[in-house]
């Protein structure tokens, strides 16, 4: 079987990838921005040690979001009806078997969240992210809370994510990267640079527009539910909790009550003026 190769880049990570499907390769290049690997040592050297192989023709159509997690001596496996992810952490190889493009998108999010947790690098969050004045504002919540709505209402401000935000805690605070995992809004053609995270807003649709600062302990009980993460190895879960704690200590968290218009930006901008 002929395999098609590509490099894919997500945030600060580049992975060498092979797939049995030309269509999948084209999709990867379109969404994750890299083409065929050249015979170039520099490109290869910049790659993550984890290699990715994607096979098509697996399983059955999507029937629900539940993912089963299994561990053996060598592999960690995530299984859904329409995808299966097998991670050999020791050998540095992930095999993803998918039914269709929808399954592939979700499988890549599942896998990437595990990868950045294992490296204690960052978190994939149920959040949209919009930039204003060189500062990223995160809008977090479950399905239906209004994450994509907020991103849409905020245009023409740059949007780094509309459903899955990539957040990296740093010494001074946190950075948010341009996320290739988009649901409604297409990612811009040119990759946007990462931005410093100004605040995290927990969304509440409401008749009024206001925001309330959360105590850090309350933020710490709210945030884990806003992280894309399927608990597999306890050491990785401990890392996710530690990363979440870093975020809570360094970034303000608010409850944001908003209407279905962009008036919430006045509340955010007012808040920034008072802090300055």
């Amino acid at each position: 079987m002929r395999m098609h190769a590509a490099y894919i880049t997500i945030a600060a990570h580049t992975f060498r990838c092979r797939t049995d499907s030309r269509q999948v390769r084209e999709l990867l290049v379109r969404r994750f921005g890299r083409g065929a690997p050249e015979a170039d040592g520099a490109e290869e050297a910049a790659c993550e040690p984890m290699r990715l192989v994607i096979h098509t023709g697996y399983g059955e159509p999507f029937a629900g979001y539940d993912v089963a997690v299994r561990r053996s001596a060598r592999l960690v496996r995530y299984e859904r009806r329409d995808y299966r992810i097998s991670i050999d952490w020791t050998g540095g190889l992930t095999v993803i078997d998918v039914f269709d493009e929808f399954a592939l998108r979700h499988a890549l999010m599942n896998w990437y969240s595990a990868y950045i947790a294992a490296g204690a690098w960052g978190l994939l969050m149920h959040a949209s992210c919009v930039v204003e004045d060189a500062e990223a504002q995160l809008f977090a919540g479950p399905s239906g809370a209004g994450k994509s709505t907020v991103a849409r209402l905020s245009q023409p401000r740059p949007v780094l994510a509309d459903e899955a935000a990539i957040v990296q805690p740093t010494d001074g605070g946190a950075m948010v990267y341009d996320s290739p995992f988009r649901s409604e809004l297409e990612a811009p053609a040119v990759l946007q640079p990462p931005q410093r995270l100004g605040a995290i807003h927990l969304l509440r649709q409401s008749a009024e527009v206001r925001r309330e600062r959360l105590a850090r302990a309350a933020g710490m009980t709210e945030l884990p539910g806003k992280v894309f993460y399927w608990a597999a190895r306890p050491q990785d879960t401990a890392r996710v909790l530690a990363l979440t704690q870093q975020l809570v200590r360094r970034v303000p968290i608010y409850t944001l009550h908003f209407q279905k218009n962009d008036s919430f930006w006045e509340v955010i901008q007012d808040g920034r003026l008072h802090l300055a």
């Binding site: 884990p224 608990a231 704690q245």
Partner: protein, 89 residues
């Protein structure tokens, strides 16, 4: 009466702005404790009977012994349900 202690893999509570949080990596949960809950959690690093925990609360907070026992009983059953503590020995 039996004793209780932390479940395997758990650690001391983390303090954030005078509130106490216990992380459970196995279940991916975060549990917030009040001050007396934080005291009990710290003691439960070693096996503790409910009576001894109640005595400590009486000593620290000058509360009624029966109130302390009721609080401890509720606390322990809640922590057991959350998988944060286990029967010791």
């Amino acid at each position: 009466m039996g004793a209780y202690t932390w479940h395997e893999g758990l650690e001391e509570a983390v303090e954030l702005d005078d509130e106490w949080l216990v992380f459970h990596p196995g279940r991916f949960t975060v549990t917030k404790l009040n001050e007396s809950g934080g005291v009990c959690w710290d003691l439960l690093r070693q096996p503790q009977t409910p009576d001894h925990l109640a005595e400590e609360l009486v000593r620290l907070y000058a509360i009624d012994e029966r109130d302390a026992q009721a609080d401890v009983s509720l606390f322990l059953s809640h922590m057991l349900e959350l998988g944060l503590i286990r029967h010791a020995g």
